[in-house]
């Protein structure tokens, strides 16, 4: 029983984090059909904001809020610096500018802060544990689960019930038509980047909460995870990203628990083989997004 509880909590907490990462990536992709490769750096920005704020004596929750705000600011900045100037011209250009912006941010952290890891302040609760049905669990895993449920519900509400969300979904389905019906393009795209930055900021705090330190390359793993999760779930579907995130966590955790020591060394090979199988079965991803319109 303890094992089952342990396993479920592991899958849910890892999956919650993965789902939020994937959702942040797919919100921008859905509208622009462009992968924001600077997405991982938003997580890095959140981490370094925490590090820089750690000397200020502010309460932790304020520092965390500040980190999320900075991630949102940099999310919007990504739009203005890397996407907007070249958006209408060519996919290749945007691909390169988003890579360049990611590189720029990483190297700025390297140059102005340090290539060595820096400490991030964490509240006491992040290193406490509770026992649930015989399984000893870190409280931060439960926080991750709670945060992902709340955020996923909030995003679902935003997307279904608010004007902004409906406009964003309309833009994701057929951007040209949406614009003709009076949806302001720049506002929608900037909002998508802001939302993406918000999710990156929250996930950044949860993810870095596991690690305790921040390095310039901290965003690489989350970006990769988000990318794979969205590919599994369906590149254009918001529920797909969430399903993909949880599925990837389930695959990883199951392999972690079941593979023998000799095979565990090759876990990533097993994970990616499964991903390939899923894609052979459903080339569009598990959940098909809206019919693809022209890229705008």
């Amino acid at each position: 029983m303890a094992f089952a509880i342990q396993f479920t909590i592991d899958v849910l907490s890892l999956g919650g984090a993965y789902a939020l990462m994937a959702l942040g990536l797919v919100i921008v992709y859905g509208i622009l059909r462009l992968v924001n490769f600077a997405y991982g750096e938003l997580i890095m920005v959140a981490g370094y904001t925490m590090f820089l704020a750690s000397g200020s004596g502010l309460p932790w929750i304020i520092m965390a809020l500040l980190a999320v705000v900075m991630a949102i600011v940099f999310g919007i900045l990504t739009d203005y610096v890397a996407f907007r100037p070249v958006r209408a011209k060519s996919v290749t250009a945007v691909l390169i500018t988003s890579f360049a912006f990611s590189n720029l941010l990483q190297n700025a952290a390297l140059l102005f802060i340090s290539p060595r890891p820096r400490n991030v302040p964490l509240p006491e609760i992040f290193s406490q544990t509770v026992t649930i049905g015989g399984a000893i669990t870190p409280v931060r895993n439960l926080i991750t689960i709670a945060a992902s449920i709340v955020l996923l519900a909030a995003v679902a509400f935003l997307m279904r019930k608010t004007t902004l969300g409906i406009a964003m979904r309309a833009a994701a389905t057929n951007f040209t038509m949406a614009r003709m019906l009076g949806v302001p393009a720049n506002l929608i795209i900037s909002s998508a980047f802001a939302l993406s930055g918000f999710l990156a900021g929250v996930v950044g705090i949860l993810w870095i909460g596991r690690i305790g330190t921040v390095v310039p390359g901290v965003g690489l793993e989350p970006l990769l995870v988000a990318f794979i999760a969205t590919v599994i779930g369906g590149m254009r579907s918001l529920p797909g990203a969430v399903v993909g995130g949880f599925l990837l966590a389930l695959i990883d955790t199951t392999l972690n628990y079941t593979l023998s020591q000799d095979l565990l060394k090759f876990r990533d090979a097993f994970t990616f083989s499964l991903v390939i199988l899923i894609l052979l079965w459903r080339p569009q991803g598990l959940i098909k997004g809206p019919a693809s319109g022209q890229r705008t």
């Binding site: 342990q6 592991d10 060595r116 991030v120 290193s127 690690i211 305790g212 990883d252 972690n256």
Partner: protein, 390 residues
Amino acid sequence: MMKTSRLLLAATSFALASTAALAADDKIVIGGALSMTGIQAPLDTPGYNGAQVAVKFLNDNGGVLGKQIEFINIDGKSDPVTVGNVAVELIDKGAQVIVAPCDFDFGSPASREAQSAGLVGISTCASDPLYSSWSLGDKQFTLSMWNTTMGATAADFAFKEKGWKTAYVVTDQFIAYTKSLSKYFVEQFKADGGEVILEDTYTNGDNNFSAQLARLQALGKKPDVIFVSSYGTDIGVIIRALREVGYDAPILGGDAYDDPAMHQALGEKFGNDVYFVTHTWMGAGADPEMEKFIGLYKEMFGKDPDTSFVSTGWDTIMMIAQAIKAAGSTDGAAVAKALEDGQFKLLTGDLDYGTNEEGHVPNKAAALIELKGGKPTFVGWRKPESLPKP
């Protein structure tokens, strides 16, 4: 077309070679392929800083063989291919000795290029026994002790000094370093008479240790000592995960633990009873020369060094200078011979290389550090009586 470009290439390389020969008359050029960016940067940038301090110190005191030393470093970008290309570029620029990154996977391409150009290559702190003359050639060295020493020191300390009889071993599958360190620890620990109750695997970047914990808990007994061989920020993740669920046995590891940010991240709560084997201790009691070095470092960079890896850079340059002096020239074979024959008193311990047939094994002592309340303290120098076979 092919022919012309090849001719052009030959002509340029000839021109480069002649400028290199000219340059060599009034100065000695040491080329560095150290990574200033990427995952290797945390280990290479301190070495680079230490090397700069050493170059300035040597030049202020009359240089080597009456010549000034010039240290050119080109960013190897934590990419083995780039590191190799950078080494070629450095050799074209007239480098007479190559300083390679602090790891076998990232550093060996530079050493291979140095070897094929007939130059001495030294890694600042690669500790895998693959960094040997056996695999890289007769002019290649590493300043670091090998993992055989590192693993054996940890094992002897645990079993012989502390009397810890059972061990739990976690191995990160990241690079040769993380894998071989565990291997030599296990070999020595078993040879000493200890029992390894469980060996487990971790994947770098996972930041998730729960499956491993479940397997350890399923065992139903607690180990006397835990050996964790990992890399980068993942070490802190694993230690925290173990401590949080109540595994309070002492934790042992290698020089990858030598990172102040990790110590801080563990803090007062988790940074206890953690021991690691590393290159040196930056405070009092390790080496009489240390204070001088820290003074020079402060003069140059305006702050205290933040990790002991800075001394590997200083040591590498000082040892190269000493070998060039002994050889009387910068000729690759002569410098390699001087390194084999010489005895070097370094900040990172006394060093005496084995012969070419012995793989240039670095016979060296290891520094043992203990974390208490998140603060490192020096336990002492250790040298295992016997070593596992590389």
